[in-house]
């Protein structure tokens, strides 16, 4: 197995030159994105170099507690980011989103590490952390989409929901159509991307594994595992966050409490 040639400072500089193309577009069309582009590119550079630096140390330490700590930290940041992408917020929603994020990604990652990869030790940081990262990154999207659809739907369809409540429906019955729509919104992107993967695009992880000198066959099987894990994590995370949001926006007398919802 060959390993990937390292990218030195000169190579990295040449890679950064690619960004200049983006900057030129921004200037030519007066997009006003110049400043944001510079900030984003610098952030990406610092974050990824720091991540590489930190992971080297975590991998060297081989401490399960440290792996667990890193995974939890990733989950917390992802939970915050998911909530930030919604147009509304409500008390308790931050905790619910983070729990949905951590719960779904931990469960799916652990299942993958223990049952699918069957590696020794199962928590080995060089597998656990990248896999958790892949799952989190995609589950984040599903959770944000599902949550946003739920909050928007509760507001825009309040007439229908309260009409059903007035007829004696439970909150679960009154929001059945809304929950279906929200879960469909949350899970459709991953279903769509599964259908075209390998034809339209070679996914990032598989590309990385091949560039790293890995066997394309093994890379394909890993990618498949990751796709299924993402699909499962997204569904689980979306269900958790959608049901939590619904619980938070009804009170003990089964009243729709839109007064708890505030625009961000």
């Amino acid at each position: 197995m060959t390993t990937a040639p390292d990218i030195g400072p000169v190579g990295l500089g040449l890679a950064a030159a690619l960004i200049a193309g983006h900057a030129l577009t921004s200037m030519a069309f007066q997009l006003g994105l110049g400043r944001r582009l510079v900030v984003a590119a610098v952030r990406a550079t610092v974050q990824l170099l720091l991540l590489g630096w930190a992971l080297e140390r975590v991998f060297a330490a081989q401490q399960p507690v440290l792996v667990l700590g890193v995974m939890t930290l990733m989950g917390l940041v992802a939970g915050r980011e998911a909530l930030r992408r919604t147009t509304h917020t409500a008390p308790g929603l931050g905790r619910a989103t983070t729990l949905a994020m951590l719960g779904s990604s931990f469960l799916v990652t652990t299942y993958g590490l223990v049952a699918v990869l069957d590696a020794e030790p199962w928590w080995a940081p060089e597998r656990a952390i990248p896999i958790m990262g892949m799952i989190l990154g995609n589950t984040l999207n599903g959770i944000a989409l599902g949550l946003d659809a739920t909050l928007k739907g509760l507001e825009s369809r309040s007439g229908e929901i309260e009409g059903l409540l007035a007829m004696g429906a439970s909150p679960a019955r009154a929001t059945r159509a809304l929950v279906q729509d929200a879960l469909r919104t949350a899970t459709l992107p991953i279903v769509n991307s599964m259908a075209v993967v390998g034809i339209v695009s070679i996914p990032g992880m598989m590309t990385g594994q091949i560039l790293g000198g890995g066997d394309p066959g093994i890379a394909a099987r890993y990618q498949l595992f990751i796709l299924f894990a993402i699909a499962s994590g997204t569904a689980l995370g979306a269900v958790l966050v959608v049901l939590s949001a619904r619980r938070l926006l009804f009170d003990d007398r089964e009243r729709l409490r839109l007064d708890r919802l505030s625009p961000r």
């Binding site: 007035a166 004696g168 007064d259």
Partner: protein
């Protein structure tokens, strides 16, 4: 005897805009009684109906049906007994049959017949305001309600249909139910033989 009462002399309901809505209310409805609730726009008639159906939180007052406090009754059951019919009924299903089946399911009632003038397959989204009101009132009258809270239930109906609807409600109340009907129509109380309550 069925009595819907708010004996605390004051019911405080909180509107969704977080504006506290304060109004002294002392309302008793007897079984078989029809009451027409009148008051200027914005005086809180619809909010009162929502509060009676336990759809809005309130931090004072009390609400009882036959002496039983609303808080002691599961919310779904309370709302089936004290049934609110909105002025602009939302589209709850794709077709007229769908709405009737849904109403029957939630009411625990048997299959409901189609109201006069409507067809089973008619799309609810294309009903006129009056037709939508007819469908909502019709299904509420066929449910297990003991008290009907009607928020201008005939405001979009043509005069003939409205007159028929008034007759149905009067007949329903004769069967022992109590009705609180919000209306701006000055002649309604007289036509129904109802007590008039002002806000």
């Amino acid at each position: 005897m069925t009595r819907l009462e708010v004996p605390a002399r004051r019911l405080e309901a909180q509107a969704l805009t977080r504006e506290p809505w304060l109004r002294a209310v002392d309302l008793n409805l007897d079984r078989g009684e029809l009451a027409v609730l009148r008051g200027p726009s914005g005086s809180g008639k619809s909010l009162l109906l929502r509060a009676l159906a336990d759809l809005d939180p309130r931090d004072a007052g009390s609400l009882r049906l036959d002496g039983v406090d609303a808080r002691e009754v599961p919310p779904g059951r309370w709302r089936r007994q004290v049934r609110l019919v909105a002025q602009r009924p939302p589209a709850l299903a794709a077709t007229v049959r769908g709405v009737l089946d849904l109403a029957a399911e939630l009411a625990g009632a048997s299959r409901m017949e189609v109201p006069p003038g409507l067809a089973e397959a008619q799309p609810v989204a294309r009903l006129s305001g009056g037709e939508a009101q007819l469908l909502a009132l019709w299904s509420a009258l066929r449910g297990p309600a003991e008290v009907l809270l009607l928020d201008e239930p005939t405001s979009a109906m043509d005069p003939e249909l409205a007159a028929r609807a008034e007759g149905w409600v009067r007949d329903w109340a004769r069967g022992g139910g109590a009705v609180l009907w919000v209306s701006h129509d000055a002649g309604l109380a007289a036509r129904l033989g109802a007590r008039e309550v002002s806000l």
